[in-house]
């Protein structure tokens, strides 16, 4: 399990949890929705704005997973 109190004290854990959490909160408000609001509800309602949002969510996730996480950790 990555998420425990010991890991919070290591730099890796800190970055993961606090920076990650901050980005989730900030990004959700900035994009006016998260995966529930945009990806599921918005796409079900056939909104274009939600398609753009979902693509960006995914792009951000891909960039982080493929490039930044391997680089930093």
């Amino acid at each position: 399990e990555i998420f425990n109190f010991q890991n919070l004290l290591s730099v890796n854990g800190f970055l993961f949890m606090i920076v990650g959490g901050f980005l989730v909160g900030f990004g959700t408000r900035y994009a006016n929705g998260c995966t529930s609001g945009h990806s599921i509800m918005g796409l079900s309602n056939l909104q274009f704005s939600s398609l753009v949002a979902t693509i960006c969510f995914f792009a951000g996730g891909l960039i982080m997973s493929w490039f930044i996480i391997p680089l930093l950790f």
């Binding site: 959490g21 900030f26 006016n32 693509i55 930044i68």
Partner: protein
Amino acid sequence: MKNLKYFFVGLIFGFILIKAEVISWFRIQEMFRFQSFHMYGIIGSAIAIGALSIFIIKKFNIKDTSGNPITIAPKELNKGTVIGGLCFGFGWALTGACPGPLYALVGSGHLIILIVLLSAIAGTFTYGLLKDKLPH
């Protein structure tokens, strides 16, 4: 007391999130590395059912429990959608959780996630502070 229905909907949602392993960091990483169909199946089937439900609601003009027609407020598209979406995506890959799963994780006993949650709330608060200075 009339808000009890929201409590039950939330209860079911949290339960489903946990049962479907949506809250697992590893599942989210799997999704981004294309190593598993799991998350795509969940999100895909959710959208399919949602789209069908909305289609039926609109076609038959179904009213809500108070008799009002159901309207879904559209979300606007602006630069914030793109930039915020990217930010959220970064955070999503890092934490492996969306806002909803964060609460479900705390509920399922991972108290450390309270830190992530507080950080997320700090993020939304910061957005509120910086809102007027950010490109939209």
